[in-house]
Each structure stands twice: as C-alpha cells, then as structure tokens.
C-alpha cells in the first residue's frame, strides 16, 4: 500500500484549520495589546454571515470578504469600546459579544439557509503545486489559504520589528508605562480590535465562502472558542498558532472522513473529538503559561487618568 492516500487528509487538515488559524492570529493581536476577547465565536459567526450575504448580493466573493473583515472589526470594536472606554470586565463583555453576535447572526441568517453564493474555489498554484508531497498538501488550495501562509511572517515582523508593533505590545504589557511614554492606551487597544477583528471576521467568512459555499446557523460550531484556547497553546506567537490550527483541522477532517466512510462509531462521539482535544491541548500547554509570555496586563483595564 502506498502512503499517498494520506496526502488528501493532510490537505483537508490545512483547509479545515485555516478558519481557526485566521481567528487565532486575530485573537493574538488583541491579546498582545491586553484585550482578552471571548467574543471570537460571535464575531466569527457574524463575519461568516456578512461575507456570505454580501457575496450573494454583489456576486463578488472579494466584496464579501471585505464586508466580513469590516463586520468582524466592528464587532470586536464594540467589545473594545465597552472594555477600554467604559472599563467593563473583559471576560463578561466578551461573553456578551458572543451571545449578542450569535443571536444576531442566526436571526438575520435564518432566511439565507440553503441559498447559494459565489465563493472561493481551489486553484492549484502553477509551479508550486507540482512539488512532491508539499504540492498536493499546501498548493492545491484556495486563495485564502495561500494568503494565510503569509500571516505568521507579517504579524511576527509587524509586532517585533515595527514601532507600531512595539507600542501595541506595550499596551498589553504595561499600560502605565505606555501612558507615561505619552501614548494613548485607548487608541492602541482599539486599533488592535480593528485589525484583530478583521482577521477574525475573515476566519468566519472562510467557513461560508470557501470551506462550504453555504450559510448555516451556528456554523462556527465552537471554532472561535478553539481559537481562544489555541492562543495559549501558541504562546501568543502566530507561527505556533499555525501548527495548532492544522492539528485541529486534522481532527475535524479525520472525523468527517470517518463519517463519510460509514463508520459504526456514533457521530455524537466523533463530534466530541475537537472539543476534547481543546481541553487536552489547553491542559498540556497551561503549565508553561508563565514562562511562555502571556501579556502581563492581559484582561485588565487601566484606571482612567485624572
């Protein structure tokens, strides 16, 4: 037996992991600036809806993608305003965002169930797709997957090597020092919500425009929460987030294959796998939380200046 049967599963893992990857990187950006956002699940779902609806109406998935990014930004900005301007509890505000956005998306999306919309199809990259092993796994994908390969480099360099990245991290490590240096913590954190939210929205849109070309209520199915857990697994670094996201993609792809192959294992048990894996991954990586560089001011709001 040849081992090539394995490649389609790995390719499927990359595809299934991509929406989680986008959302995780978005959440990393926000957490690096000190904002714990438990609204990812809701913002992602709203992004999926906005992308799908806009693509359906305009007939152009790129416009849909832009709409998803904008809506993701708006949703996370709402959380940002409630926590940085009104100084509310970040945990509860994030939960409120998830409850509100999930309700809103399912309410507005119910009439769209079963309708078609144009999306992104798989286009092998000329040249690279002919590579052995890597070609079929990495380069027989859609354009959003290709774009996501650039994310770790872009975000890491942006956070580490640019002035803005340094300031963003300062808002997450020490808001007081940040303020003493004459920077506005408020502005930096809201910008983090803007950029992070856009990525989270795109992660959602990946589900409705590329992974499937359909809208279903609650289609994120916990991926936003998995992203929140992956941020800890990734030690707040985008490169590690990629590994974690593909791991989850692998479990999801495996579970779908098994169901399609007509296994006798009850589907409710198979569906548990990603959630149990999240708990396991979180438990395994939490020991290193201290040394792994959680932003020092994560989840806290600075007192307003007099």
């Amino acid at each position: 037996m040849s081992w090539e049967w394995f490649l389609p599963i790995v390719a499927a893992a990359v595809q299934a992991g991509t929406p989680i990857f986008y959302a995780t990187v978005g959440e990393i950006l926000m957490e690096r600036a000190g904002i714990l956002n438990l609204g990812v699940e809701g913002a992602m779902l709203l992004g999926a809806l906005a992308g799908f609806w806009t693509s359906m109406v305009t007939g152009n998935p790129w416009v849909g993608l832009a709409a998803a990014a904008a809506v993701g930004s708006l949703a996370c900005l709402l959380h940002g305003v409630v926590t940085t301007v009104a100084l509310a509890n970040q945990v509860v505000s994030g939960l409120a965002l998830t409850i509100l956005a999930t309700g809103l998306a399912n309410f507005l999306g119910t009439p769209l169930i079963g309708l078609p919309a144009p999306g992104f199809d798989q286009r092998p990259l000329p040249g690279l797709s002919a590579l052995p092993i890597l070609g079929p796994v990495l380069f027989h994908q859609d354009v959003l997957v290709y774009a996501s390969y650039l994310l770790p480099v872009l975000v890491s360099v942006g956070l580490r090597r640019t002035r803005f990245g340094l300031r963003l991290r300062a808002a997450g490590e020490s808001p007081t020092a940040c303020r003493a240096a004459g920077l506005s913590v408020l502005r930096l954190r809201l910008l983090a919500c803007l950029f992070g939210g856009a990525l989270i929205g795109i992660g959602g849109a990946y589900l409705s425009l590329a992974f499937t070309h359909l809208w279903t209520n609650g289609m994120t199915a916990g991926r936003g929460w998995i992203a929140v857990a992956l941020v800890i697994f990734a030690f707040w670094r985008p490169g590690r987030a990629m590994v974690g996201a593909y791991l989850f993609g692998g479990v999801m792809a495996f579970q779908l294959r098994l169901q399609a192959a007509g296994t006798t294992v009850p589907s409710s048990l198979l569906l548990m796998l990603p959630y149990l894996l999240t708990v396991a991954v979180l438990a395994a990586s939490s020991r290193f939380r201290g040394v792994a560089g959680a932003p020092a001011a994560l989840g806290t709001n600075p007192e307003p200046s007099e």
Partner: protein
C-alpha cells in the same frame, strides 16, 4: 469646559443601577423592534405580542415562573464563581449532565416510591453536574488550565453525551426512531404545588436561595470567597486556600446547574430528549451578571428573562421569528449594563477652575 473622570467615593444610589437596567431593557426592546422591522415584520405589533403574551394572563405568569426556576438555579451557581472572579460558563453542560444523571436514576430505579426516587434523582443530578464542573476545577488547580475555556468546551461535550445516550443506549424502542428515552414512571415526575401548575422546583429555589445567601453572608467560606474575588493578593497574604475555594465554587455551581437539569427533565419533559437543551445555561450567565450576583436580584432578573422566553415563544408562532432573537436581546442587555456600570464606579466631574 474640561471634564475629568474620577472614581466614585460613595456607591451609586440604588436607583442608579435600576436606571441602567431599565435602559438596557429599553435598548434591547428597541433594537429587537428595529431588527423585526428590518426583516419586514411589524415591529410594534411584534413587541406587543412579546410583552403581552408574557405577562398578560395568569397562565403566562405561571409559564414565566416555570422557566425562571431552572434559570435561577443555574444563575445562582454561576454567580457563586463570578463572585470569586472564577469564570464558570459551563452551566449549559452541567445542566445536561444533571439531566442525564437524573434520567439514569429514573430509568434504573423506577420501582421506588416517589419519596425516595425523587431525592435520589436530585442527588444524582447534583453529583453529575458537580463532577462535570469538577473537571474544570481539577485541571485549573493541577495545571492552571483556564477554566473559562474548559467549562465552555465541556458544554459541547456534555450536550453530545446527552445526544449519544438518547440516540443510542437509552433510546425508547417504542419511540418510532425519535431520539428520546421512555417516559418516566409517575413516581419520577416532580409534582405541582397544590392549586397551580408550578412544581416543587420553586421550593427548591427558595431553599437554595436562602442557603446561598446565608453561606455567603455569615460563614467563613462565604467571606473567603468574596475576598478572593475582590482582592486575590490580600487573600493570598491571609493564606486563604484559593485552590480549594475555587473548586468549591465550581463544583457547587455545577451541582446547582445539575439540579436545574433534574427539575427540567422530571417536571417539564418527563423523559430525556435533546430538546431539553434550550440555552438556560447561557442565559444564566446574563442573569447572574445583571443581578449583581445577589440571590434576590437573581430571582428578579431570572423572572424578567424567563418572561422574555415566554413572549418569544408566541412571537415565534405569530411572526415566524427565529429563536435566536432572544440571544440578541440578552446580549444587548448585558452589553448595555456592562457599559453602564462605568457610571456606578466612576463619576464625571467638571474640572475645578
């Protein structure tokens, strides 16, 4: 004119919080109406159905109380951990496990009389829910795993455990393939209070409310939980057992959510089926926070949000409004109250010249 923000020296008077809550309800209703209009449905008629069918008749009020009972139990449990700034958002899964535990007793000990069977069902539900939450407590204490994510993930798993059982081993052979257990024997059904449709779960709520209030107010445990929530550094300095207290609030919260599952499966459905999961555990988070974490407040807010659910059922029937409408309004209320809580902690003053 320059304005400055300053920390309040005295707490906001009680009417301030009421005003914020009313503003939240008004904004949620307004937003809900706008969303109805957006979908081409009559907004005013919709809102009047929503409110009218929730408070318009004795029957409706009884419905509100019935729905408020599981909400109250879950929210008191969630509120316990919130007081300690431990974020148990897994009431939904703990509720599911509670229903499973109660069902297990109801199906396997169905020869017992009600006076023995019902307490056993309640006990099994509380233990199952408590253990489910205990997983999160264990992982947090041992490995420092974030309890927010673990409890939430266990919601998905708990619901799937319930589905696995009713689709598989516990499926009633006489159910024509529908995923449900056999009907419980009459002894396993929580009876109604005389003269009403409201069951004994209401009395259970009263007992739980009084017990939790007393424990939080006048026991060492309650004091330590409050201190750990408000000033963890001071708690550590006083050598309070943070890990053990965290386990207590999580497991107790899980047990209460489990009891809610018992009440629902026994009194409302009389058998276990997936439709028992209607999101009480998530609404309980909203209830707990809106109520300021006080049991009396929990009762009031639980009634308001139960009324919203009762009204929503009519709205669904009359105007084909999706059930997600409720989540939208709950989320709006919570966000508005959160934003409004700024005014209860800070005041805006004119800068002295």
């Amino acid at each position: 004119m320059a304005l400055v923000v300053r920390k309040r020296r005295e707490p906001l008077p009680w009417w301030g919080s009421c005003l914020i809550f009313l503003a939240a309800v008004a904004l949620a209703l307004g937003g809900g109406g706008a969303m109805l209009a957006l979908q081409g449905k009559p907004a005013l008629a919709g809102l009047s159905v929503l409110i009218g069918s929730a408070v318009g008749s004795l029957w409706a009020v009884e419905d509100c109380v019935l729905k408020a009972i599981p909400l109250f139990l879950c929210a008191v449990g969630v509120g316990l951990s919130f007081r300690m700034a431990v974020w148990n958002i897994g009431a939904e899964g703990q509720f599911a496990l509670g229903a499973v535990g109660a069902t297990w007793v109801a199906l396997s000990l169905d020869h017992l009389p009600a006076a023995v069977l019902l307490p056993f069902m309640g006990l099994a539900a509380a233990v199952a829910g408590g253990l489910w939450a205990g997983v999160a407590a264990f992982l947090r204490a041992l490995l420092g795993a974030n309890e927010t994510i673990v409890t939430l993930m266990l919601n998905y798993v708990g619901i799937l455990v319930l589905e696995f059982l009713v689709f598989g081993p516990w499926k009633d052979p006489a159910s024509f393939g529908f995923p449900m257990t056999a009907e419980f024997v009459p002894a396993a059904i929580l009876p109604a209070l005389p003269g009403t449709r409201i069951h004994w779960g209401l009395v259970l709520c009263g007992v739980v409310g009084v017990a939790v209030t007393l424990a939080m107010r006048s026991s060492r445990l309650g004091f330590e939980i409050t201190v750990c929530g408000q000033n963890p550094a001071a708690a550590r300095y006083a050598r309070m057992p943070y890990g053990a207290l965290m386990a207590v609030v999580l497991v107790a919260g899980g047990a209460l959510a489990g009891l809610a599952g018992f009440v629902e499966v026994s009194a409302a459905l009389g058998r276990l089926q997936p439709s028992i999961m209607t999101g009480y555990g998530y609404t309980a988070i909203v209830v707990a926070w809106l109520s300021g974490l006080r049991p009396l407040g929990v009762a009031g807010v639980a009634l308001v949000l139960a009324a919203l659910r009762v009204g929503l059922e009519s709205l669904q029937l009359d105007f084909q409004v999706p059930a997600a409408f409720g989540g939208m309004m709950e989320g709006t209320m919570l966000l508005v109250v959160l934003a409004g809580s700024f005014f209860s902690r800070y005041q805006i003053l004119r800068r002295p010249a």
